[in-house]
Chain length 183, copies 4
DNA sequence: GATGAATGAGCGTTCATTCAT
DNA sequence: TATGAATGAACGCTCATTCAT
């Protein structure tokens, strides 16, 4: 053998799945390899080391949100429509995302161990909250917009944790519904 | 000769600190030992294995909440006072708890790997939410009490994550403040 | 199992043998372990890492020379006797030392890769030459003593290399004989 | 497409440099590749395997000495001139050769691991000594010629080791000077 | 109860080598 | 000829665990 042409993205997607469901440290290079049909050593053809996979995994999800979720605040639609859309897209994502929110999950596990990881995660949540803030601020004053956006991000992260424990999706969905009622 | 008499509780407290700040899998028996002034092998005189430490760590915190936080719902004081007290005690705990909420942190890392861990964590959150629910239900209808309690637990977990990333405690405190306004 | 009580010195002696005959980099922790009847992981109970074994191996030989060879210059015997004794002891050592001179062998392999190794090796040769120098200087002028001692150390190192290639011990012994004729 | 046309000799020259300064086992195919602007796999178009590179590296230096140094003994000049020339050429070579003498360096590292390597190295020193021997034998008796040539080769190898440790070139040069005084 | 020495398995990583392109 | 992707074995090292002392 020795033919396969595994792409970086394939590896990244498998790694993301594993990091979310098993945690970063509990996921071995062998695990990632196996999920891609490779032996662990072969991964080093695509990534310098495990840390790089972790970093690129975080960036991959961050970019996905940037391009699909956070961007909604700038679309040329009404405030209500923006809120409707951002909540729908977000819920769509997390309902089918096995294992919850990568950046939320890794936040507690790795951010004290690796400052580069921490920076990406912190910024991700900041950008996320800011997206909601800007939409709310179209109709609500600064303080309200600020608190509601913070509350939403927090509650959603908590709700994802709960959903992973109980498989109760309808409770999870209440968080988004509540946000939409703010304007 | 002489020496230490290290108690199970001492070890547990060090393990809890480590699990919260480094994660469960990234904390080694040697780490726990060093934190207690023991070598790793000595820990096995107190605990069967690492899993047992994890389990007892979760139970330890669970019991702490049971005895100090959840119990407030049954005290002989007004609803407002209960809410005031439960929020204050909770915030007090998390503001000085380095590394956030043990059960919240471990939820994503271990609950898919170990069903016993998952059961404890799930129950903990259920009991917690139920405590809040019962207090709110003294003044609010079932649905409202249910949602507000759920929202609070979720938002608080999210807020702990954010506080660990940004060290912003005043935002964290808003979550409890908001709950108290419910009645 | 799990009983053995291997001492640091045992491990060191096996490592020295291996480093001399196989080279430092080509000797694996597994090699060292096998030579001691241990698995490779067990060696870390005695040494922090491979570098520490290398370092202590060099120091071990250095100390042996310090205590048995270099010290002869200070003994209360005649110059001729000193020279006789230092040559005899040196030749005794190298004739039975399988694989040549540890510090000479590692000089070219590791001294560019690790400055701590280099320092020890450099000092060893300096001390060695100085021992010979001081003995010769009792009867010869500075310049002669200096050159003859340098020439002896160099020739001896070269002769050890040749002896390892050809097993010709009598040529090797000529180098010491020649030195003794200097006074 | 297009590209390089890397020659065997180019690769060999880089490999020699690396073997001398890092050792044979500590030099990886990737190291050699990088030094040539190739990836490691590409080297296999030029050499069967690492051992072949090692072997040809030794032969390359051996041939250089054969053609430039050892041959001097057969030139049509006086004994004194031969000695002068062979020492000058040798010193020229080693003063600019970063990392010392390839065959001397590898002698201890590889000659016990690979008999083909050992044969080449042993023969190289034999031929070298013989060159000096024949020149000296024009003026000196067999025994003297034999010992002085042996002593010179040995001392020179030792002096190269010392020069690599201390960067002291003037001591090194004394060895050749001394040889020239023999006739 | 604590230690130090040991183990076997596994870690992340690098090795020399192969081969379709 | 060169490359990039792959492999299996080995690397140095750490893991959780055991046990005689």
């Amino acid at each position: 053998m020795a033919i396969k042409k595994t792409s970086k993205e394939e590896i990244l997607l498998e790694a993301i799945k594993l990091f979310k469901t098993k945690g970063y440290y509990n996921t071995s290079m062998a695990d990632i390899g196996k999920a891609c049909g490779l032996i662990k050593g072969s991964i080093y053809h695509h990534f310098k080391n495990k840390e790089e996979i972790g970093l690129e995994a975080l960036k991959y999800i961050d970019e996905f949100f940037e391009k699909n979720i956070f961007i909604i605040k700038d679309e040329n639609i009404t405030t209500k429509e923006k809120l409707e859309k951002i909540v729908t897209k977000t819920d769509e994502y997390f309902l089918k995302s096995e294992g919850g929110c990568l950046l939320g999950n890794l936040a507690s596990e790795v951010s004290r161990q690796n400052s580069e990881f921490k920076t990406i995660i912190t910024l991700y949540f900041k950008k996320w909250q800011d997206s909601i803030y800007q939409i709310l601020n179209e109709k609500l004053d600064k303080d309200k917009a600020n608190f509601f956006s913070y509350e939403y991000i927090c509650a959603l992260q908590g709700a994802i944790i709960m959903m992973n424990l109980t498989d109760n999706t309808s409770s999870y969905l209440e968080i988004g519904k509540k946000l939409k009622e703010k304007v």
